[in-house]
Amino acid sequence: MSKVDPITTEIIRNAFIAIAKDMNATLIRSAFTPVIYEGKDCSVALIDENGDVLGQSLGLPLFLGNLEICVKLIADQHGWDYFKDGDVFYMNDSYMTGTHLNDSTIITPIFWRGRRVGFAASRAHWLDVGAKDPGTPVDSHEIYQEGVRWGPTRLYEAGKPRDDVINLLRLNSRFGEATVGDMNAQIAAGRTGEQRLRALFDRFGAKTIAAARDEIFKQTEMREREAVEALPDGEYRAEGYLDNDGLGSDPLLVKVRITVKGNSMTLDLDGSAKQARGPVNCGMTQTIAAARVAYKLLICSDVSPNGGSFRALEVTVPRKTIFSAEEPAACGWYFSSLGLLIDLVIKALAPVLPDKAAGAHYGDSMVITVAGLDPRNDNRFYLMIEPTTGGWGAFDGGDGANSLINNVNGSFKDLPIEIFESKYPIQILSYGIRQDSGGAGRYRGGNGTYREYLVQADSNLFLWFERSKTTGWGIFGGADGAAPNVIVRRPGEETLEFLKINGIKVGEGTVIRSVTGGGGGYGNALERDPKAVREDVLDGFVSSDYARSAYCVVLTDNLEVDIEGTSNLRTERIGIR
């Protein structure tokens, strides 16, 4: 192997990362739909000729370490020579990409002076890929109901678009033009990667780049292995439940066993729920990606991921579980189990990484959908879909964040009430931080959120709320956060409570109140500084009553800490325990 100096290596390393950023900037700049250019529900990677990552932009976390697996899967199926200069591949098959069919993976092989030197790959969420209902159905039980499945398919061949194929994509979407627009944006991102990587080869040559790459991978692997080596050898376990599969099943077990041995780590998901009938399954590729996200949150978080990353991590999953779905399992809501998986890996390793870990967060995207005809707009169809924020876990040194979007989401921002009310025939009656919902602890779990909708046109309501069985748990003695709930009050009818529902009628005057869960606490609540509890009461994050019952902090009428009362109450409580 030829040797390359550290200066050139560093310039090439920075260039790989910059190329990925440029690809991402191109994708976001050219995308048609807001879910990509505002929600940043996308990810890109620059990949070498062997399918290893050179640089990745930090887009949607859940897609970390996924795109290169897709490249390798194609090569496994067809051989590396299957990729030709001028090709652009599209694929969305859940059993290959791991995610739902809406996620489009586009791969451009990059050639330089007649040889394959790498790949530019991107993934972005497309609005509609021809499922039985608009967007992503909440009650599917076969993948065929979720849209059209594509294995690796050439959109371009020898540099020319295959119009027949592209037309097929257009025809199988409710928003065909936007779909093709987003496809073009992904192809443009691939072109940017192609041009920039070729320019880098022109400047440094193949030998130098290969040597620098090997050095970069080696350095990354070394750093990660050092971090894993620092963990005590042993087995670490955690488990939790998804509420159900969306079609009314029993709770679904997710079981995590991590074995640390020397400088490597194995994550075993044996014992986790079998493939479910409802759409909560995901392909193995996405399970590996989620495991990598959890690992990345704990190990060398500051290192930009590349082909040297994750070499210390092995993931094993038995066949036909919710984490290794096979045809015809439904995968529409593939991410609910993955948010839980990530939280569980952190829980399992918390005892040996107390300075990195945090209590669990509220857990899932908590999606509410209301659809109907808007009388203000000539009775045109409207579709309101929004995820809801919730509480995050506390950690050593800080309280969990209140009302923050969940970990598998991207750069989501809530829709301002002012914009919301102009777009939809719905008024937001109240929106706020849910008092006392964060788990008590030396550091307090973040509070969840409430949002109250007054429906002003006859509509249908769909809900996907999760994590009421395994709520945001505390660690090191911290208490668990509260569970989510949704209350529907239809005029003149009995109040209903749901978490998941596939379309009930909600007429004018209906009030829907969604409430999300809190994050877990960190450490014993009786060790929380009474002054901090008082501050929380002043800010309304904690009520006086809860301060007393959960923290044993007594406040006087003018909200000063009653030092003696607090001390007595805490002593008494410890005595009882």
Binding site: D5, P6, I7, T9, E10, I11, R13, N14, A18, D22, A25, I28, S30, A31, F32, P34, Y37, E38, L58, L60, N184, A185, A188, T192, E215, I216, Q219, M222, L297, L298, S301, T389, W392, G397, G398, A401, N402, S403, L404, I405, S411, F412, K413, D414, P416, I417, E418, I419, E421, S422, Q427, L429, S430, Y431, G432, I433, L538, D539, G540, F541
Partner: protein, 673 residues
Amino acid sequence: MSRYRVSADIGGTFTDIVVEPSDGPVFIGKVATTPDNPAGGVINGIKDLVSDLSQVDFFVHGTTVGLNAFLERKGQRVLLITTAGARDSYTIARGNRHTLYELRYQKPKQLVPRRDVHEVRGRLAWDGRVLEPLNRADLEPIIEKIRNEGIKAVAVCLLHAYAYPQHELEVREALAAALPELSVSLSHEIAREWREYERASSAVMSAYVAPVVQRYLSSLQQQLLNMNMMAQVHIMQSSGGVTTADNARKNPVFTLLSGPVGGTIAGTALSADTHRPNLLCVDMGGTSFDVSLVIDGKANATLETELEGLPLLMSIVDIHTIGTGGGSIAWLENGAMRVGPHSAGSIPGPACYGRGGTEPTVTDANLFLGRLGTGSLLSGAMSLDEAAAREAIERLAHEAGLERTPFAEGVLAISNATMADAMRTITVSQGVDPREFTLVAFGGAGPMAAAFLAEELDIGEVLVPRFPGAFSAWGMLQTDLRHDFTQSFFRRADAVEYGVLEECYEALELEGKASVSQEGFAEKDISYQRSADMRYTGQEYTINVPVPAAIDMATTISDFHAAHQRRYGHSNPVAPVEYVNLRVAAFGAVKKFAKTHRVSAAAKVSAAVGERSAVFNGVAHKTPVLLRDGLSTGFRSNGPVIIEEQSATTVVPPDWQAEVDAQGNILLRRRSD
């Protein structure tokens, strides 16, 4: 008798002053900033340059006083009043994450704690209809609290106030009746557009920094008056226009980023002077690197920004800051070599500053390679310690297993490549190609790196303006008075009647006229720029499209499609388009001298200072060192050559050539031979 136009850019460490006489070339000064009495340093600096302040016709300055008050969290306590039910919009701050791989994410710290956010009943609909009248009784306990706790400032942000401001005005009236001394900042007056969190954040910021900025401005005005300066005190706004101190006191938030935008505005003047429409402006100092764009002669602007994660809605010159500068530290990690983002700052500063810094920085590498001389900084007023730089470089080079010279060149190569990568990403996201731009380099460290950055980006031409260290201050003298007005206007474009649109613009212009003439401008000197924030139906974000007066609406719509095409690479001419906001910028033309002289016709000093050995690409070259003050129009030289002046050092590498143009700018070009 000479008359003068004077500008001052008050930075954290130094204040740059530019004086433009009516009858001679521009000259500059630099004094230490005096943080305890920011006005004091400026006044001393001006007095050094202009003996009789009554000869000053125009004075403008940029200041970080307000920004620092925010960054150091030294503003005043603010209470926020919101609509019942929507109180937590401010504290939730839209629930998003700025960094995604962070288990311990904490939201940006808000200026108003939740306990000081209060609600008042009274509800509007999105189109401004009153669904429920304002409940003034709800204000009683709030007034009681303000009185009891001695709160001096209140921000008010009610839902949909952009569409119907009356409720906010009523709140102010009720507060004023009970508490006449209270300062009240209404969200619709700061930003009359939708998005309640961003608008509340802007109103809070304005209330928060107000007293600090107001105190400072009053003190400066008083002290200048005492020195017989009769000219109005002007201040630079984030929008790139100036305003009077009297007006800035009303809404201080608009001056928050008044310092850095001067550079981009100077870029627009340079663009006109040199007939180069597209400029990539880079301002490199000790710790940061600011990149901004001039496209078609106009400063690239944005309508909102964030400060430490807190949003501000206001027209602002778009500047990207990267944490690379002369102070960036080189270090090793697992055998890999890195430069930055840690910086030695100004204390201890680079090793060669001799203030206790021991780690090698970009500046140390420049000194070691001879590109910077020991007496290059501040005309020799600050001497650099070459031995300290050598020692720092030697130690790390040894650890990295490299010779000193390749190591030092490597430090620069890495930092240049990092800056160029970031610049490229910025241009890609704007849909422009850096190769179509001329690089403009200023700030203390910019002209040293300029040619190397241009090479990385494949740019063939670099401009180093006269007085690169004071370029921002110079830019402030080139701009006009500007006040911005916005009206939210949420309609489908094809359903809007021309008369309605025209009426709205005229109303905004009337507001503009009142406000600008209040600043002492005659009607003939007032002009307006109309624009509209537009988007495709269904999109969230908008594009700001200029709307020349009396244009037909179809042209505006096709201009929107074209702007969308440029910005996003695609457009859809058949898709419905909607208006979101109408904007008017009202300008008062500031009187300027007939001709801006920036260089003497005949140099009064000798150009040649000497020569030193400077390393380029591993080869030591005997390199002439010239004094810029001695160069006049028409000067031409092949590299390698080093051109020094008080505020910066320009490095011309061997395969580049330099010439001085008619305005006194140094133009660097890649040699074709």
